[in-house]
């Protein structure tokens, strides 16, 4: 009973310390939260990728080509007149409903005003279609004739430029394909059978133009959550949260164990020894306090991360098992480390060093998660410290590893705990005997 009294007293004191509470709960959630919002903001609430609407200023100076007579119905238009102007087709495509969410197209009277609109930030890009655009296209001389578009953009609007460039390149690819088709047709049919060549080109262009009108064909934009793994963001946040939780669980184990030294220095531990309470009861109470504090921290963080970041920790039973192993390992590691320290003054330096080194080693597994072809040696190194095993346990759970693997990790955590606790408890008993 006295053991529990001592443990609950210490737990109460820990929870009353603003500093301790911030480091136990606030910092791990905050760090994970930073990562969450970094990825979360890009992904948006629905996981979609929200591109900005690009303001496009178009000047169509194209005078058309008499050799180009495209059936308007094949271009998805209702106009009865055939279209002889490729520039008009480009304008038409960019103004289509399919791009309404991506582009806001305005027609400019001349090239100068279009460029000025970009310079004055009234437009993000300007597309200037030259007068000979169609003429160059219909020339069958593939060596010298080229249809050239001018794309004038604000260099700071890289994303907007990329969007417009992507659409135009796709369109121009289609045009180039049509021209190649026409050249091939001209080589195989009689060079004067323009009607047949025109039909080939028209069919090709129609198909190309219709594809262009569908933005999905040209802008394959997938949100982070859609790439490869549908749960990709959680796959990133989960290990980070596990790493933070384990790092700070070991920190709590270390600092809570330090109360044994501090109570000794402040005189409350010697005073406890003057009460009719055995040394074993007192030290067991102190050790229990460390375990309880870390347990509260880990349980709160697991639950909080589940609700705040929607992290799927995996099978509840195995999560509880690994959490228990982590609590025991973190607590016993703290008791062990403090048993080697003479006074709490030494603690600050030693805690910082030991926790940073072992914590970083343990988290190698997380750092290398997104690095392809990581050396297996790195994974082995992370398992030299208990933090590495704890992290491995949580990662195994999140990917639903075989239960034997999880149980093995738990067993190793228990072995670490027994070793650390035995040495730590023995040294403390000897010190206060």
């Amino acid at each position: 009973m006295k053991t529990l009294d001592i443990a609950l007293k210490d737990l109460t004191r820990s929870m009353r310390s603003t500093f301790a509470v911030i480091f136990m709960f606030g910092v791990p959630l905050l760090v994970t939260g930073m990562f969450y919002f970094m990825f979360g903001n890009i992904a948006g609430d629905d996981g979609g990728f929200d591109l900005p609407v690009t303001r496009v200023m178009i000047v169509n100076l194209d005078q058309g080509s008499p050799d180009l007579q495209l059936g308007s119905s094949m271009l998805g238009q209702s106009a009865a007149q055939p279209v002889d102007n490729l520039g008009a087709i480009i304008v038409n495509v960019l103004q289509s409903e399919g791009f309404a969410d991506l582009l806001k197209v305005t027609i400019a009277a001349d090239a100068g005003s279009a460029r000025a609109a970009v310079d004055e930030n009234n437009a993000d890009t300007a597309i200037i279609i030259p007068p000979d655009f169609s003429t160059q296209f219909t020339s069958l001389n593939t060596q010298s004739a080229q249809s050239v578009l001018e794309l004038y953009a604000n260099p700071e609007k890289t994303l907007e430029l990329a969007v417009v460039q992507s659409i135009l390149e796709q369109f121009m690819d289609g045009m180039s394909g049509a021209k190649i088709a026409a050249s091939v047709a001209a080589n195989h049919i009689s060079g004067t059978d323009y009607a047949l060549i025109g039909q080939v080109v028209q069919k090709y262009l129609a198909a190309a133009s219709q594809r262009t009108a569908d933005p999905q064909t040209y802008l394959t934009v997938k949100s982070v959550t859609e790439v490869e793994n549908p749960n990709r963001m959680l796959a990133i946040i989960g290990p980070i949260m596990a790493g933070m939780m384990i790092f700070y669980a070991f920190y709590t184990g270390m600092t809570t164990s330090e109360t044994i030294l501090r109570e000794d220095e402040e005189g409350t531990l010697p005073r406890l020894f003057t009460t009719p309470t055995s040394h074993t009861t007192i030290l067991t109470g102190k050790f229990l306090a460390v375990g309880l504090t870390v347990l509260v921290q880990v349980v709160v963080l697991i639950i909080a991360a589940r609700f705040i970041f929607r992290i799927q920790w995996g099978n509840s039973f195995y999560v509880a098992l690994i959490a228990l192993g982590t609590v025991l390992a973190a607590s016993s590691f703290g008791i062990f480390a403090n048993s080697l320290i003479k006074s709490s003054k030494q603690g600050g330096i030693i805690y910082g060093g030991v926790l940073t080194v072992t914590g970083m080693l343990g988290m190698i597994k997380i750092f290398t998660l997104s690095v392809p072809n990581t050396s297996p040696m790195m994974e082995t190194v992370s398992l030299l410290v208990p933090q590495g095993w704890a992290i491995q346990g949580f990662l195994q759970n999140t990917v639903s590893a075989p239960s034997t693997d999880v149980l093995l990790t738990f067993a190793v955590l228990i072995v670490w705990s027994i070793v650390f606790f035995s040495i730590g408890a023995w040294r403390f008993h000897r010190r206060f005997a």
Partner: protein
């Protein structure tokens, strides 16, 4: 009957003999002071009696229980007020008392009742829910004492409980020590403050360099230096003739000269002092300063060790 008996206690830390064969006895219901300068071995003696330190040799009985063989019985019998405040500053006064009460085996309603009583005794009922860390030094001292009273011990050790506090809180603590005695408790009180020992104690043991160098009541100790008063004077000029005449004066026991001043041990300073002035005036010498010291524990310590208690 003896509440505490020390028999030849020894404790060394390396080469340092902190306690070197200390023996004394404390009667039930009395205030017994251990008086000595810092480093005399008082706290080490108390630590052994509290079972915090194991003696290298010798033994002590607290209410008949050996500190070596029955440490748990000893702990049950005594309350300890440590020299430094040993409380949890982030807990309230009441929470501290409840926790320490549990450590003394109190539970439930009896614990609550006793905590209320102790809060009343130390005068902190109104501030019971305030965090100890926010208390003044005097209030902390009172809680520190309150913890030792929770289980109604028959013997209480108080290790320099008035160090570093204001005169008002000091007065309050000294009054509470007397009150404990009046409630039948035996108090073992350590101090390096002569006035406290003189005011409180039924018996006093003077410690120096780990040994008890004198023990008894205040009057018994003062008699060790004879009932002499001590007069310290300075003259405007050195005069061997005046010193010789003083030595020859009836009632003057001894005259020593040191650092430009003269120290006389006399039977009664009130009778002798006019005669001393008369001799100096007749010889053309003038007394420039006079200090009279009636025998006290300081004199005893000086007499026994050749050093002042505050050195």
């Amino acid at each position: 009957m003896n509440a505490i008996e020390l028999n030849n206690l020894h404790k060394s830390f390396g080469e340092l003999k902190a306690v070197d064969g200390v023996s004394f006895a404390v009667l039930e219901g009395e205030i017994f002071s251990l008086l000595g300068p810092n480093g005399a071995g008082k706290t080490t003696t108390i630590s052994m009696l509290s079972t915090l330190l194991r003696p290298d040799d010798g033994d002590a009985l607290v209410l008949g229980h050996s500190i070596r063989k029955e440490p748990m019985k000893v702990k049950e019998a005594l309350g300890v007020v440590p020299q430094d405040i040993a409380l949890y500053e982030d807990l309230s006064a009441r929470e501290n008392l409840v926790f320490w009460g549990k450590m003394y085996g109190l539970r439930g309603a009896p614990l609550k009742k006793r905590v209320d009583e102790v809060l009343e005794t130390i005068g902190l009922t109104d501030r019971q829910n305030g965090r100890v860390g926010k208390f003044s030094g005097g209030m902390k001292r009172r809680v520190n004492i309150g913890v030792a009273l929770l289980h109604k011990p028959k013997v209480i050790y108080m290790d320099e409980p008035t160090v570093g506090i204001d005169p008002q809180s000091r007065r309050s603590i000294l009054d509470s020590v007397v009150a404990l005695k009046n409630h039948g408790m035996t108090v073992l009180y350590t101090t390096h403050n002569m006035e406290e020992a003189q005011e409180l104690s039924d018996h006093i043991a003077i410690m120096d360099h780990g040994k008890v160098i004198a023990e008894g009541t205040h009057d018994e100790l003062v008699r060790l230096v004879g009932q002499s008063d001590r007069i310290t004077l300075t003259l405007n000029i050195e005069s061997a003739r005046v010193i010789d005449l003083w030595r020859a004066t009836p009632g003057v026991q001894n005259v020593t000269a040191e650092n430009g001043s003269l120290t006389l041990l006399v039977d009664d300073s009130n009778l002798i002092l006019p005669r001393l002035f008369e001799i100096t005036a007749l010889n053309g010498v003038r007394i420039t300063s006079v200090e009279i010291q009636v025998p006290n524990l300081e004199t005893v310590f000086l007499h026994l060790t050749g050093r002042a208690l505050r050195d």
